[in-house]
């Protein structure tokens, strides 16, 4: 029976080329946008390179501080002082790393100047993140404590400065200081926000130690736990620490005294949720983001669905003789609903397959344009599965009503082709 339905479906698509094209066009357009969006989201939430142990990591990247009267507030990424005082001492954390946001520096080598992003980190940074070292290794705790001028660079920077040769032991100069390259790592995409940079150096090499008193701005922290179960525990521990043990902080350069702070230890998803929801409390709004993504997907699919419903209903007349014949020979309404649903779902599945191919092209073009630095955007199995599930949902959604209408045709009228 299934084979018969498939043959009929494919023949109908072939015969009604314009109808098939219009329907496929709508599906492909919608699904391609969804696939590209899903791939970007998937690459962000489930990174595969340096942040691949994301299930064991929490990130502190946001701080909002208010005065006692709650009349003044500031929010940005946290400062070193804040992270060192409230994140570093968390008891349940197995490791904590504090690092700066990347900033642009001009790197000099033999009169050559290269613009690169540079991040200040501690030594634990490299034990929490899983960088792929192509040459050398990370700087060690001893290098960090002694403030040695050592640097890890990425493959891109190495190619710019040293071509294909060995970079280990080479000297590079920036911020009026000379650094010895000790490691070369694979490029890490901007989507891996805490790992992304071109150059990493110990923050103990910073020209000034003024960062140590910064309450807000310019820094982030990664918390590593050896089991996923501990993540929630740490999140609560951190919030409790801020709620119960926060000591009012007098902002330098102004009269403001911060009495209340909001900050959370986020998973990749909750960090995205907060950014999108612009959440300013301890609740990052994960549920709202999930709901929003679901609604966007449905709203997005609704338009081509309505288009398909419209086209399918108008095609009832064309198929009425076939419906009449099938009913005469014993097809029940259920049989016909299934037949037309299979037809519709097959069309959306073809659309999904075409969308996946087109999306590969779009993603390669995004990589080519460098819109997301160092991104290697590939469509993985979960995106393919989600796309296929969505297309089946989409096919059912747009097919059920026309299929029901067709199945309810009076066979006598249908046989006359006068439905």
């Amino acid at each position: 029976m299934f084979k018969n339905y498939l043959i009929i479906a494919l023949k109908v698509f072939q015969k009604r080329k314009f109808f098939t094209f219009i329907n496929l066009f709508g599906i492909v357009l919608t699904m391609s946008v969804l696939v590209v969006g899903l791939t970007l989201l998937e690459n962000y939430i489930y990174p595969g390179h340096a942040e691949k142990n994301h299930d064991n990591m929490l990130s502190v990247s946001y701080l909002r501080a208010l005065n006692k009267e709650r009349t003044q507030s500031s929010s940005s990424d946290p400062g070193y002082y804040f992270l060192n005082k409230y994140v570093k001492p968390l008891k349940s954390a197995d490791k904590v790393s504090i690092f700066s946001s990347p900033r642009m520096v001009s790197v000099y080598l033999d009169g050559q100047q290269v613009k690169s992003r540079m991040r200040l980190t501690d030594a634990d940074y490299f034990s929490i993140l899983d960088f792929n070292f192509k040459q050398g290794s990370a700087y060690q705790q001893d290098d960090f404590e002694q403030g040695r001028s050592v640097a890890v660079i990425n493959q891109h920077t190495k190619s710019l400065l040293f071509n294909d040769g060995n970079a280990i032991g080479e000297k590079i100069k920036f911020d009026e200081k000379v650094f010895t390259v000790v490691g070369v790592v694979d490029n890490v995409s901007l989507l891996e926000q805490d790992a992304y940079s071109d150059i990493w150096v110990p923050y103990t090499t910073a020209p000034s130690s003024s960062y140590k008193t910064d309450f807000m701005g310019g820094w982030g922290a990664l918390i590593y736990v050896d089991s996923e179960d501990k993540r929630q525990f740490i999140q609560s521990e951190y919030i409790n620490a801020l709620k119960n043990h926060f000591e009012p902080y007098a902002s330098t350069g102004s009269d403001t005294v911060y009495a209340t702070v909001y900050s959370t230890a986020d998973t990749k998803f909750s960090r995205l949720a907060r950014d999108i929801n612009n959440s300013r409390t301890f609740d990052t709004g994960d549920d709202q983001l999930l709901l929003m993504l679901g609604l966007i997907a449905i709203a997005f699919m609704l338009l081509p669905s309505i288009n398909m419903i419209n086209l399918n209903v108008s095609r009832i007349l064309e198929r009425s003789t076939e419906i009449g014949v099938r009913k005469s020979f014993g097809a029940s309404s259920g049989h016909l609903v299934i037949q037309f649903l299979i037809e519709n779902i097959l069309l959306t599945l073809i659309g999904a397959a075409v969308s996946l191919i087109i999306s590969i092209g779009i993603l390669e073009y995004i990589e080519y344009l460098g819109l997301i630095p160092y991104a290697e955007l590939s469509i993985n199995t979960s995106v393919v599965v989600i796309t296929l599930v969505l297309s089946i949902f989409f096919g059912t959604l747009s097919g059920i009503y026309p299929a029901y209408r067709m199945s309810k045709l009076n066979p006598v009228i249908a046989l006359k082709g006068a439905a």
Binding site: E322, F329, G330, L415
Partner: protein, 221 residues
Amino acid sequence: MIKLNNVNKTYFTDKIETIALHNISLEVETGEFVSIMGPSGCGKSTLLNIIGLLDKPNEGSITLEQENVEQYKEKQLAKIRNEKIGFIFQGFHLIPELRVIDNVELPLLYRKISSKKRRELALEALEKVGLSARSHHFPSQLSGGQQQRVAIARAITGKPSLLLADEPTGNLDSHMGDEIMQILEDLNKNENTTIIMVTHDDDEAKRTDRLIRVFDGQLIH
């Protein structure tokens, strides 16, 4: 085999009420070959549709093989149509996208039988109408007579006890029409299939066991 008792059928449109059948009582025995004749619009096709359970009467009862089908739901009627009735239409009504063999298999799709068995039964039916060599052709590659033979094969592939033919030779020349009549006669004689056929052709009607005349929705005795 089939019994109609005081069957009435009226069609209602906005303001017009059209009586299609009026107090029809009719009994057809198993193995009979009955023809129905009458002028256009007299209710022949409506009668055939009601016998074939494609349409429901407003009043009266229908008994098919001792089963009173009056109160049957759509799904039950579909099952009876599938197992007990075969239809042959004037316009053949083959599905152009499907090959001959797939068209013939169509009634069997709605039964729980394997695809292998379906194929066997369809080929058997095609053999009976002498078209097994054309099983992989498409309907458009066949002549009108051949298409109607395929339609007959489709009607008999599920081995129904009742065949309903609505002007089966109406679209064919006399030679092809004769071939179709011959097949129907063979089915009736050799397999004891009950056949009810609507026709406009006196010669064809004479070849059947009994002629029923319909005029203005009533039987004329």
